[in-house]
Subunit: 243 residues, 2 copies
């Protein structure tokens, strides 16, 4: 696979730029579009015609990656799935996150907390896939509890239930890839805006790779050293196909 | 055509509900999705394969309908169009609107003010369509300047340049339809969330009708007396086809 990537530090700068005083995007806008990308990738990989079940388990972490997951879950409900969210550690810094949880309740999407039995949803009989929205490009090891335990469970289940990772597979080093022992292997990776270097370490035979987060103009992509991706029509994701 | 509609007062209540303390949507989220609907409808009506020009003139009013237009213009740029925005009366109540204008500058989309010559863009040689995002369901007659003059120009140009109206064709009574003399006749109407009664007054031979604003669950639609529309896949609009 050949594509440009952005190391974690650069990705953080790009994000800061987008929400800075000059460009003026809000977190609400970017998160809505990012979550829509992920939901669309799930729909493309698991279309209604090719499945008999509809449950999706969304694992949402405490940061912005988790917020993308919360949006994704709401949109998956609109797209005909039955999402269940496990959100053990709430984001308490940005008040917007509690609004995202309210919106999920409005859509009758269950949001499970630490004490709830999320493992009953990690069940291949009912569950189409798991959306891994635990940690994104700001992740620094080590994985702390309860997320270490969550990752253990995912590893055991991943042969029966495909994992869709948002931006970075949780536990992977953003820039180096799966350097820890026993890293999860997602069946789908949805890179946001531009792939991070860890995406170069996926095996295209194992992992389908999408890019989403369609919200920057060509000149801005060029400034960060990459070309815009070839989205079609109004699609919010584009699948990168190995050459 | 047979479809449920929501009178202006009810539409205002629904909007208030969506952004109220229980449901918790933000204006930023809903506007992003509404603008995306309109941009997708424009792309569906004027696909690249069927046109030789790419300029779109977006007329943005001072309220939320105008905000939908500002978002739409940005997304049209991403979809390969060359949008130009005429925004003669800025929204000064919600700070988010100035952010939307910044985002347009970031995308190098010209934003024209009162003194600028917007009429040169109302030119059938270059312009695919005009997006009429002047006034929505809160509109109360009469049309004040400069919008009366804008409507006059649109009326004269509408046989050469198709108008895409957002939610309500500007100048139409939201509940009664085109009761004023010389109302514009849009080629496309994009109703948001649910059509307003004026949509029953369009002639399906003259006006293509879409519904967008895909952001409410079935139970909530039912509460307001209508059924969800039959969106396909991840589409943000659905075309209503006369029976």
């Amino acid at each position: 696979m050949s594509f440009k990537t952005l190391v974690s530090k650069q990705a953080a700068l790009l994000d800061k730029d987008l929400m800075g005083p000059e460009i003026g995007f809000t977190l609400e806008q970017l998160m809505e579009l990012a979550g829509l990308s992920v939901a669309q990738a799930v729909l493309k990989e698991f279309p209604r015609s090719q499945r008999t079940k509809s449950q999706v388990l969304v694992l949402a972490g405490p940061g912005n990656n988790g917020g993308d997951g919360l949006v994704c879950a709401r949109l998956l409900k609109l797209f005909g799935f039955k999402p269940v969210v496990y959100y053990p550690k709430h984001n308490t810094k940005a008040p917007f996150f509690s609004k995202l949880v309210k919106q999920l309740k409005f859509f009758k999407v269950p949001v499970l907390n630490t004490d709830d039995d999320w493992l009953r949803y990690l069940n291949p009989n009912d569950t189409v896939c798991v959306v891994d929205a635990l940690f994104g490009f700001s992740f620094k090891p080590p994985v702390r509890e309860p997320f270490g335990g969550v990752l253990n469970q995912l590893r055991q289940a991943q042969d029966q239930i495909p994992i869709v990772s948002v931006d970075v597979p949780t536990g992977w080093d953003v820039d180096e890839g799966p350097v820890e022992p026993n890293c999860i292997v997602p069946k789908v990776l949805v890179s946001l805006t531009v792939p991070k270097p860890c995406a170069l370490k996926i095996d295209p035979l194992e992992t389908q790779h999408y890019v989403g987060g369609r919200f920057i103009p060509a000149e801005f992509a060029n400034k960060y050293g990459f070309e815009p991706f070839a989205y079609e029509n109004a699609d919010q994701v584009v699948k990168l196909v190995p050459e």
